[in-house]
Every structure is written in structure tokens, then in C-alpha cells.
Amino acid sequence: MHEENAPPAPETLLPLPEAALYILMSLSDEDRHGYAVIQDVAARTRGEVRLSPGTLYRSIQRMLEQGLIVEKRERPAPEEDDERRRYYRITPLGTAVARAEARRLAELVRLARASGLAPQKA
């Protein structure tokens, strides 16, 4: 089904849906399974953002297709592993896209700040 051969330029995938950026952030320090992503995102945002399972897995499906993440082949030690769980790892393309998105957002904030619409840097 994935017939595109060369990976697309990161910019073509911008802007990234918010959920996708959270997922990429969460996977950037370690491989995680779905539930762990939800918990990690909640922890990062001090409980502000709770990804719903529907949003999470649909995002994961799209990100797999776009090649931003991959499903991990090797599993953790059996005693830690729950059979049902699949682990995901960020790809180099995923990292590049997350960086590009962060740059885009930073630029956006810079412009907003210049217009007096955002607080000055502390």
C-alpha cells in the first residue's frame, strides 16, 4: 500500500496535527506503547492534555503510513511485555518533521510577539 519510494520532504507534512506532535515528543526519548504515550503526554503537560484512545490510534495509523514512526520489531523482556501492546519508535523522518514543526511554531510565536500578541521572553 505504501508505494511512495523516496521519503517526502518534512515540510510537505506541515502543519502537523497537535496530537501527532505530542506523540513524536513522547517517542523522542524512548520507544513506547500506546497507553504509555497517553500517560507520558499527560505527565508532560501536567494533566492538561489527555489523548483519547481514538485520537491516539488514528494518529498512530496515519503516522505509520507517513513514515514518521515505525512499529518496533524487538520487544522488551517478556516479563515486562504485555502481549497486546505494540511499541512504536520515532524515525529520522519523524524527528525531522517534529523539528520542522517546532521551528514553524517558534516562528509563529516570534511573529505574534512582534505584534504584541504574546508575552516578551522572560
Binding site: M1, E3, H33, G34, Y35, I38, S52, P53, G54, T55, Y57, R58, I60, Q61, R62, D82, R84, R85, R86
Partner: protein
């Protein structure tokens, strides 16, 4: 906890199964964990609600993702085989286009309610004289007045009489078709004017100033759509008349040809004749009154009137027919047949497409097997294939609707003119919805079987692509081909019967000779021409001048030309037999001038023709048609016999040949011709001769300017209308037949082409499947002739099966269409033999290319290829 899990499992079913099998378990686990963490019943209920709000929109998006992917993938796959895609789209377009076109006509005539509010309460009122063979007879003015006064079932009742009037004072004088209506009629229909007002009771009064409501078409053509037309004065048959309103374009009543409406007025003298069946009476049932109750009441009234007027109203009842759905049985049958033909064509198109897709699916079996091995589920592949067929169907559907948009106005001829259905049929929203549904259905119908076959379980990789799958798909395609030939033969047979009907009608003798005859209409405006002393000089002058034109061999005037007016039927009273009113014999009445029979070419059989000496001063005479004498005095010479007709006792002086007054298809009443000078004054002005018939030895069209000039000089206020060759009138009479035969022939032709494509496709496929076998045969010494006959025989065998089944179907269709057939039996062997022959020839033609390929096959390569 358990049932909360099954609740979530149920929710997960909203997802595409590929998504569910991938992520369902994890999502369920997360939900279960959250449930455990939730506090109290309220918390759990809130969580469940949140789950619904989360799953529903995401599941929908997941479906859209899959769809988007499938569409992209299908479009790419189709681009890679443009020949296949183009064929499939063209085939789908043909099927969908034909069905959409047929439906849009069917919808307009049979399905859609009449364009009036509460149309089911509208009825037509008729006099019933079944004893004379007329169950639905127009109503005489006095009976109309009594019905209206005595009945309680109707909220309103009104009368209509269509006339042609001369419109002057707005450009060139012109004859227009006007519907004379009493003031109730337009109101009871629920009609609203686009401009101005409709008639009120003050317009109805005898002697009120003349008023006129224009049709939208007349307003546009004659008055340039100018809104200031209201209040404008024109002259209708010399009467000053004020335009008071314009109807909207879609309004049409009582038939489509009406150009304007004028009030119909009665004078006391109109109410004297109870046997003058001249009014079309319409009524609207009072709310809550059923048609049956109204019928019962009207039967009682008819019985009372029969007692009151035992002579005129003898055995006269009342017939009520609903306006809604009152489509002539022939038109209904024809449209149904047409729609059935379109469905037959659609069936052929669908089987053809299914066959094409099946071959493609078999060819792509290894591709699917590989994809299945890579983890694509069966449901996913099925969806993919269905998306492809729907994509083809919708491309074909769009093209088909475009085809229908072109074809539908042509099919408008199939709508009977007598229906109050305004405007031309077209492709509107209603029809588009139908086409859309049809397209989706078509896509599924021809997509499902190949898709199921292609994803036929797990045997995918194991089964050899060449042998098993190919053979069973081949069998299915063979069945499709048989179905296609069956439907084509049925269509060809039905079409053949209609064509034969047309031919046999063309051979019917109309009773007159059409070559070199020109006809035109000159309506004498009443009341100016009510007196014979005014009328007769006009005829004399025009006829003598016309006869003086070089090349003119005969000229005469008649009340109405045959086939243009089917009415004017009067009862015949025979001396010494039952009274005129009770007589069950009728004849059509026409007044004519000398020279008319020579001009029409109606042969004299006995006695003499009408003569200049037949005047009011001489005895009342008549010339009758052969059938009149034969029926009234079998075996006797009718010359010199007397009969009562149109108020007087008349003596037969001549017998002429019968004329098909009612057209080539229908039985006509015997004809009675009366001398124009014996019309008298103020009597039957409607019958005043108005059609001039001129026979010439030169090209008749060259006479038109001279004739116009003669009439212009005789009376500049009289417009010349309906300038036509007599042959055109006969041509027009069977024009609907020609349209029917053409429509069905178009369907049958398309069906034949599609079936040919089907046979060709199947054989090409089967040859490619059997390359190895053919190679082996050739290597073992089979001659090209053997190979050729093997392939062609395969095609002919399938065609033969289709011919047998199609023949049976065609016979059934012919039986159902019996009332549409004239001069031919529904089991006509020549028609069926022709249909079968054409189908077999088509099968042979379809086999030729694949056969050629089989013959030119290189056996060495074919055997090595495996």
C-alpha cells in the same frame, strides 16, 4: 466491568475492520484501565459517554482515510490500464444513460403527481353512452349546467372547449390554439398566474368585454415577454380583447399545445341542445368526498335527467375519471416497455462490466495474493475492489447523465400531447438522484461478484492462477454472456415488432391520395361569417381563383381534414327505425364544397358528388362513405335512401370511399359529407369549412405564395395557418410510432454492441487462458480451420443458448405489448428469426478477433510459456 467491555467492543465495530484488528485490543485495554480508575457510577457513565464521543468521529475519519487510500490506489491502477478503464466507463455510461433517460420520461408522465395542488381530488366528468360505444363522451352544455346545479360532491365544476381563434392586432394575423374556459376552471385546478389575474365570474357573462390569459410561450413569442402586455388590447376573431394575465411556463392545460385561455360564454341558445357533446368538464371533489361517493351521486343525477329528458338523455349515464394517473393505456404501456428495455440494457451493461472486472480480477490474482500475504485482510481487499468498481461506475454515471441530458428532449415526443404536463422533460434534481442511486447500485452489482471471487478465501496463493480460478471465472463469464445475448434478443424482438407495426401502418390505405396535395387552414372569424350569404362568396372566390392557378387540377374546402380532427361525430337516425337520439349508429359530419373529393383523391363509388346546385333551395342531400351504406342497409343500394342527421332528414345522392378520419390505427366512424351551401345561417359555425385542399400537377409548395395572395385579397383579416402537404399529415399521424420504434431500436442497437463486446471479451480471455492447450493441439496436428471453428463454435454455442432464452422473453414481451402492435402477431416468426439471426451474426463477429489470435498462435512459445 465485563459488560462495559462488551459495550466498548461494540463501539469498536464502527471502525473499519483492518483498523479494529490492528488497534482494537489495545484501545479496549486502555478503556478497561480507565474504567478501573474511574470513581463511582457517575464517573464510569461519564467515561462511557466520552468513549462514544471519541470513537464515533475517529471511526468515521478512519473510514475516510481508507476510502481516500483506496480511491488513490484505484485511480492509479486504472490509469495503468486505460483501455480497460475506457471500455468499462463507456459501457457503464451507456447503461446508466439509457436508464436515466427512460426514467426521466417515465417519471414525468407516470410517477410525478400532476402539477396542481391536491391533484387526487381533480376529476373529469363525461357523459356515458356505452350503448353507442362511447363510455367517455364530452358533455352537452345543458347537461353540464344541470350536473353543476344538482351535484353536491364537488367544490367546483367548470367546462373547457378548445378552439382555434384568429389573433390580430399583435403583428401578423395568426391562428392560435385557445382553450375556452369557464371562470371556475383555472381556479379549481389551483393555477396561479405569473402576471396579472385569472378570470372571474364577471368575465364569463354573455356580452362582457373580451379578456385573454396568455401562455408563457405565446407571451414570449408574440409579445417579447413584455410585462406591460397587461391591459393591452388585441383582436380575437375580430372581437376586441384585453390581455389580463400570463401563466407561468410550466402551466399547461388541458393539453400542451394550448397557447392562451379565454372565457367561455354561454348564451341561452347553447343550452337548447342536449346532444351537442362539446364540453370538457372538470371538477374538484369536495374535501372528504370519495370518488365512489361522487360517482353514486352523479349516477342518481343522470337517472333523474334521463326521466326529465327521455328523448335526448336516453340511456345516458355519467362517467367520472380521476385526472391524476389518467394516462392513456397505450402511452403507459409504451413507457413501461421503454423503461423495461432500458433496464434490460442496464442489465447487459452490468454483466458486461462484471465480466470485464472478473477477468481483471483473475489476472490480478497474484497481486492480491501477495498483498494478502503482506497482511492486507480480506475485507480490505474487498473494499479496495469495490472502490474501484464504484469509481468506474461514477465516471460512467457522470458520462451517462450527460448522454441522458442530450437524449431526453428527443424522448419528449413519447409524452402524449393530451397530458397537462408542461415544459420539456429534462434532467433535473429528481432524475439526478435517481441516476446517482442507479450508479451506486450498478457499481455494487458489477463489483461484488468479481471482488468476492478475487478474494475467494485463503486459496489465493495456493491455487494455480491459470487453471482453477480461470476456469470458474470463465464459467461465470459464460453465464454473463448468455444473459447478455438473452436480453439483446428480447430487445431486438420487441423492437422488431414495433418496426413491423410501423411498416404495416405505412401500408394502410388512408382512403385518399396524398401525392401533390397542399392543404392550408383559413378560419372564418365568427360571428362575421355566420350567414351563408357572407360565407359562400368567400369560398366561391377563393376556389375559383385557386383553380385558375396554372398547374392546379382540383381545389375544395372541408370542415376538418382527416386525421387532424377526430371528433364531429353525430348520431344517425334511420327512417322507420329508432329515433336519432336512441340510435346506436354514429357518423362523422363534414361540410364540403364541390371539388373537395377530387382534390383529396377520394374515389366516387356510386351516384354523384356534391354539386354547386345543392343549396338551401334544393332538397337536403348527403354523400356518404361506403361503410355507412353497408352498415345501415346491408346488401342494398344506399343511393336515394333517407336518414336523419344533424337536425334534418337527408337523401343520399352519392357514395365515396372510406377515409381514415381517426388515423391509420383506429377504426373510424362512417363519414357523411354535406354540401356547404346547406349549412344554413347561425347553425354549427364550428363546422364551417376551414381547410382548403389543393391538388396540383406542379410542385405544390410553389403554389403557397399565390394562395396566400388570393386569401389576403379575399379577406385581409383571415390568417393562413397550417400550410402542410397532405402527406405530412399522414406522416404526423404515425410520428409517435416512428419515435417509439426509434427509441427501442436505439436500445436494441446499444444492447447488441454491448453483447458483442461481452462475447469478444470472453473469448479473448478464454483463448488467452487456453494458449497452452491450443499450442498442444496445433503441435499434435490440428489445422487452423479446427482451431478457428473451436473458438467460433464456443461463441455461437453461448449465443444459441441466449437466443433460445431471449426468444422466450421476447415472446413474453410481445404478448405484453399486444395492444401496441398493429397488423402483426406477438409471435411473428419472421421477426424472431431476424432477431436470432442478428444475435448469431453478432456472436460470430465478436468471435473473429479472438479466433484469429488463436489461429496465429505460435505453438512452441505457447507451450514453453508455462
Amino acid at each position: 466491568m465485563l459488560h462495559s467491555n462488551s459495550f466498548y467492543r461494540l463501539l469498536l465495530r464502527l471502525y473499519p475492520s483492518s483498523f479494529r484488528s490492528e488497534y482494537g485490543a489495545e484501545m479496549l485495554a486502555i478503556f478497561a484501565a480507565s474504567m478501573e480508575a474511574a470513581r463511582g457510577r457517575v464517573g464510569r457513565v461519564a467515561l462511557a459517554l466520552r468513549a462514544v464521543a471519541d470513537v464515533a468521529p475517529n471511526a468515521l475519519r478512519a473510514h475516510l482515510d481508507v476510502l481516500r487510500q483506496d480511491v488513490r490506489y484505484s485511480a492509479r491502477a486504472l490509469r495503468r490500464s486505460p483501455g480497460f478503464a475506457a471500455t468499462a466507463i463507456a459501457v457503464a455510461a451507456l447503461g446508466i444513460g439509457a436508464t436515466t433517460a427512460a426514467y426521466s420520461v417515465l417519471d414525468r408522465v407516470l410517477l410525478r403527481p400532476l402539477p396542481f395542488p391536491e391533484p387526487q381530488r381533480l376529476v373529469r366528468v363525461w357523459e356515458d353512452q356505452t350503448f353507442r360505444g362511447y363510455r367517455e363522451l364530452e358533455v352537452s352544455p345543458p347537461n353540464y349546467r344541470d350536473y353543476k346545479a344538482m351535484s353536491r360532491s364537488f367544490g367546483a365544476m367548470g367546462a373547457v372547449m378548445s378552439v382555434s381563434l384568429n389573433l390580430t392586432g399583435a403583428g401578423e394575423p395568426r391562428r392560435i390554439d385557445v382553450s375556452g374556459v369557464t371562470s371556475e376552471v383555472l381556479d379549481l385546478l389551483g393555477a396561479r398566474p405569473a402576471l396579472g389575474r385569472l378570470f372571474s365570474t364577471t368575465d364569463d357573462r354573455d356580452g362582457a368585454p373580451g379578456t385573454l390569459v396568455l401562455s408563457h410561450a405565446l407571451w414570449m413569442s408574440r409579445f417579447g415577454g413584455d410585462p406591460s402586455v397587461l391591459g393591452k388590447s388585441v383582436r380575437l376573431n375580430d372581437e376586441p380583447t384585453t390581455v389580463i394575465g400570463v401563466m407561468p411556463p410550466e402551466f399547461s392545460f388541458p393539453k400542451r399545445t394550448v397557447e392562451a385561455w379565454a372565457p367561455m360564454r354561454f348564451s341561452e341558445s347553447d343550452f337548447q341542445e342536449r346532444t351537442n357533446f362539446s364540453l370538457q368538464v372538470y371538477a374538484r371533489l369536495r374535501p372528504g368526498v370519495s370518488l365512489d361517493a361522487a360517482r353514486a351521486e352523479m349516477n342518481g343525477i343522470a337517472a333523474r335527467l334521463e326521466r326529465a329528458y327521455p328523448k335526448d338523455n336516453a340511456k345516458t349515464g355519467v362517467t367520472l375519471t380521476p385526472l391524476q394517473g389518467n394516462v392513456p393505456a397505450q402511452s403507459r404501456l409504451l413507457l413501461t416497455a421503454l423503461f423495461a428495455a432500458a433496464l434490460g440494457l442496464l442489465l447487459i451493461a452490468c454483466t458486461n462490466l462484471a465480466s470485464l472486472l472478473l477477468a481483471r480480477a483473475v489476472a490480478r490474482r497474484s497481486e492480491f495474493a501477495v498483498r494478502a500475504a503482506l497482511g492486507a485482510g480480506r475485507e480490505r481487499l474487498l473494499r479496495q475492489l469495490l472502490t474501484e468498481s464504484l469509481l468506474l461506475a461514477f465516471a460512467g454515471g457522470a458520462l451517462g447523465v450527460a448522454l441522458a441530458a442530450v437524449a431526453v428532449p428527443l424522448a419528449g415526443r413519447l409524452i402524449p400531447e393530451s397530458l397537462p404536463v408542461g415544459g420539456q422533460p429534462g434532467v433535473d434534481l429528481h432524475v439526478l438522484l435517481f441516476a446517482g442511486a442507479l450508479t451506486a447500485l450498478t457499481g455494487l452489482a458489477f463489483g461484488v461478484v468479481p471482488a468476492l471471487r478475487a478474494c475467494g478465501g485463503s486459496e489465493g496463493l495456493r491455487e494455480s492462477v491459470r487453471s482453477g480460478a480461470g476456469r470458474s471465472a470463465g464459467r461465470m463469464r459464460a453465464a454473463f454472456v448468455v444473459a447478455q445475448v438473452t436480453a439483446s434478443v428480447a430487445l431486438l424482438g420487441a423492437c422488431g415488432l414495433l418496426v413491423r407495426t410501423l411498416w404495416s401502418l405505412q401500408k394502410v390505405d388512408p382512403g385518399f391520395r396524398t401525392e401533390g396535395v397542399l392543404t392550408l387552414g383559413t378560419d372564418l372569424p365568427m360571428p362575421r361569417y355566420l350567414k351563408g350569404a357572407v360565407r359562400d362568396p368567400f369560398y366561391d372566390r377563393v376556389l375559383s381563383e385557386a383553380r385558375a392557378i396554372p398547374g392546379v387540377t382540383a381545389a375544395g374546402y372541408i370542415s376538418f381534414l382527416p386525421m387532424t380532427m377526430r371528433g364531429g361525430i353525430w348520431p344517425i337516425g334511420l327512417a322507420g327505425k329508432a329515433s336519432e337520439a336512441e340510435s346506436s349508429r354514429t357518423a362523422s359530419l363534414r361540410f364540403a364544397t364541390p371539388g373537395l373529393f377530387e382534390a383529396l383523391g377520394v374515389p366516387l363509388r356510386a351516384g354523384r358528388l356534391l354539386a354547386d346546385g345543392d343549396t338551401l333551395a334544393s332538397p337536403y342531400v348527403a354523400v356518404v362513405s361506403e361503410s355507412f351504406g353497408r352498415e345501415a342497409w346491408p346488401g342494398e343500394n344506399p343511393i336515394g335512401k333517407h336518414f336523419f342527421f344533424a337536425f334534418e332528414e337527408r337523401t343520399i345522392v352519392g357514395v365515396v370511399g372510406d377515409v381514415r378520419v381517426r388515423g391509420l390505427e383506429r377504426r373510424s366512424e362512417p363519414q357523411v359529407y354535406l354540401p356547404h351551401r346547406q349549412m344554413g345561417d347561425d347553425r354549427l359555425p364550428w363546422f364551417a369549412p376551414k381547410h382548403l385542399v389543393v391538388r396540383a400537377s406542379v410542385a405544390p409548395a410553389t403554389l403557397v405564395p399565390a394562395l396566400r395572395d388570393i386569401i389576403q385579397r379575399a379577406d385581409p383579416q383571415i390568417p393562413v395557418s397550417d400550410v402542410r402537404m397532405l402527406s405530412e399529415i399522414v406522416h404526423e399521424d404515425i410520428a409517435p410510432r416512428r419515435a417509439q420504434a426509434r427509441a427501442l431500436a436505439a436500445f436494441a442497437g446499444a444492447a447488441l454492441i454491448l453483447a458483442g463486446i461481452g462475447i469478444h471479451g470472453l473469448l479473448a480471455f478464454s483463448v488467452s487462458q487456453r494458449e497452452r492447450e491450443i499450442g498442444v493441439r496445433v503441435a499434435l496436428g490440428a489445422q487452423p480451420r479446427d482451431i478457428l471453428s473451436m473458438v467460433v463454435q464456443h461463441g455461437v454455442r453461448l449465443a444459441a443458448a441466449g437466443v433460445v432464452l431471449g426468444g422466450l422473453l421476447a415472446y413474453g414481451a410481445g404478448r405484453a405489448m399486444t395492444s401496441l402492435l398493429v397488423g402483426i402477431s406477438p409471435a411473428d416468426p419472421a421477426t424472431f428469426a431476424t432477431a436470432a439471426g442478428i444475435a448469431v451474426a453478432m456472436a460470430v463477429a465478436g468471435s473473429l478477433l479472438p479466433a484469429r489470435r488463436a489461429v496465429t498462435l505460435d505453438p512452441v512459445r505457447a507451450i514453453r510459456a508455462e
